[in-house]
Amino acid sequence: MNTRPQRRNDVPPGAEPVEFLRLMWRTRLFEEFSMRLKKEGAVLGNTYPCLGQEALGVAALALAAGDAVFPSYRSRAIVFGKGATVEQHFREMIGAPEAEQGGREVFHHAAFPGIGVMPSSSMIGGWAPTAAGYALTQQMERSGTVTVCVIGDGSLGAGDLHEALNIAGTWKLPFVLMVENNGYQVSAAWSQVRAQKALAPYVAPYGFVTRPVDGNNAFDVFHSMAWARAEALAGRPAMLDCETYRMGGYSSHFGEPRSGIEGELAAWRARDPIAFVEDWLERHGGMARREIAAVRAAEAQAIAAAWEKAKREAPRRAGDARR
């Protein structure tokens, strides 16, 4: 795992763009699949799809195994990137007793501590302090590992976030704040809830080095996380302000709450993170369109198979007290 800073857009040793693509397709297809499951009533849990934000997951590929990630509820990509499987996710969604959380916590807050996927919280901002606490223990043990705290931009409003960042900055913790800055907090555009879109100006004074990241460019995401990790290990807590866009509804239980976003959607559709990597692979990666398409097909097949397996192995029918 290469963690030294790289020139942006370089392909670093040890990370193959085709891996980026695999992870991104896995993420997108999983989100679509699970939205369908929810719609059909096959699963209980709501989903908070990260459609359009899939490139953020490759940040995980710039991390070491011992690094911890405290994801947001919309961080499917980075959770897959850390090694959680689609099948594990399905088991959680079914609420099976065999699932790691045993049907207790919702799947989008599921923790898999063995692979460094740590618990989130239903309280927006609430996992920034716990992430800082984990980073503190990494610092105390001189473990050479970092903690990544992933938040949506709406977290800027939450006092807990500020308390944690001030401490992380003052104590120079091996802490990386990664912001999924999609410019919306459910229906509220960023300008309704804060004075400026970028979060870096708010975070830098706490003692963070910050970097704006094209969140729809997997290369930028990867290199930026490698940079951030190295900075954090060197005693400079780092912040990645990843600009991206949510290409769909807030969750499976609300329709699209935003209105008048057609223009934004069109502009961001042109910046599709998967198409970007596919183009790169075709132009610079020596891959044929057919090979590229096979990546998607393989992920789709694996997801379908994982669902079948999860269903079989976790046969307990989901309860629903309302019906």
Partner: protein, 324 residues
């Protein structure tokens, strides 16, 4: 007067809110997604009718939102704060207890703090242990704080209206799982905020609030219709705080057998508070020791929370035992 048409629980809340805003320009709404997109539906249309200055979408800053409500109260305004769901009251706890509830006391009555915190109980929405809780216990023993937990549309409507007339903050624990239930609103209660008999009965009384009161009525109805019928009264607290001590004592004396039902574990909430109150009665006043049906000391899972919560069936079983 004409007919009293059925209104849903949710519409009853929306109506009381709308009426309060229409009546007083100093009533305003704070929340997330309360404006153009009304996430829970209760604030729908308010921004068009009353403008964006009075229906304010906020950052994720519940502690500040409640604090803002307390500051606004100091200047004669009444904020209605919509919390996404009741569990989130935790992050606003200090603002509720220290900034809002203590304002009148600490300033020796110089400043009052009318303020309404609408915190929907999200149970059965599949949000897991941090997204489905009832949260009454956290606040039950805080002085100068009202808590409402309406069981039906009429209670929801009249209790919310009443909250606007109160000089203290109200935590309004509406229950999303009751949103679609409906009934007539009835006439304005003579003594708003008092406990209500949902169903008369002489053999025993169930005392409960919110969804548990609604389930208790179902249980009592079923028992009345059963082969070995029992005649069980259901007393719905509606406003849990101030506790309607008088109504509780009267009902207990009249029935002689009391079952209290709550969804929270047994170490707090209205259940033990009512049992404590009943201990002030002479031992001879009741035929049996009061019983409490509560969930075990555990959090709520996102799957099968119904397994640990009281149901019409377990309420009926507890009543049978009490009547045995």
């Amino acid at each position: 007067m004409g007919a009293d048409p059925a209104v849903t629980y949710k519409d009853a809340i929306a109506r009381a809110l709308r009426e309060a805003m229409a009546a007083d320009p100093r009533v305003f709404v704070l929340g997330q997604d309360v404006g153009k997109f009304s996430i829970g539906g209760v604030t729908k249309g308010l921004i068009e009718e009353f403008g964006a200055a009075r229906v304010r979408d906020c950052p994720i800053s519940e502690s500040a939102m409640v604090g803002i409500g307390a500051g606004a109260a100091m200047n004669g305004y009444t904020a209605v704060i919509e919390i996404a769901y009741a569990d989130i009251l935790a992050v606003a706890f200090s603002s509720i207890v220290h900034s809002a509830a203590k304002l009148n006391y600490a300033t020796n009555g110089q400043l009052r703090c009318p303020l309404i915190v609408r915190a929907p109980i999200n149970r059965f929405s599949r949000h897991g242990p941090m997204g489905t809780e009832v949260t009454l216990s956290w606040f039950m023993n805080v002085p100068d704080l009202d808590i409402a937990m309406p069981a039906d549309a009429a209670e929801a409507y009249w209790l919310l209206r009443h909250a606007f007339a109160r000089p203290v903050p109200t935590i309004f624990l509406e229950d999303r799982s009751l949103n679609a239930s409906s009934g007539p609103l009835g006439a304005k209660p003579k003594a708003p905020g008092r406990a209500r008999t949902l169903r008369p009965g002489r053999d025993a009384v169930v005392i409960a609030a919110g969804r548990m009161a609604a389930l208790a009525r179902d249980a009592a109805d079923a028992m009345a219709a059963s082969k070995t019928p029992a005649d069980v009264r259901v007393l719905s607290l509606g406003r849990v705080k101030p506790l309607d001590r008088e109504a509780i004592l009267e009902a207990a004396r009249a029935a002689g057998r009391v079952l209290v039902v709550q969804e929270e574990p047994p170490l707090g909430g209205y259940g033990p508070a009512i049992q404590s109150l009943l201990d002030t009665l002479p031992a001879s006043a009741l035929k049996r020791q009061p019983a409490l049906l509560a969930r075990p000391e555990t959090f709520l899972p996102y799957n099968r929370e119904e397994d640990v919560l009281p149901s019409a069936e377990t309420i009926a079983a507890a009543l049978r035992e009490l009547l045995a």
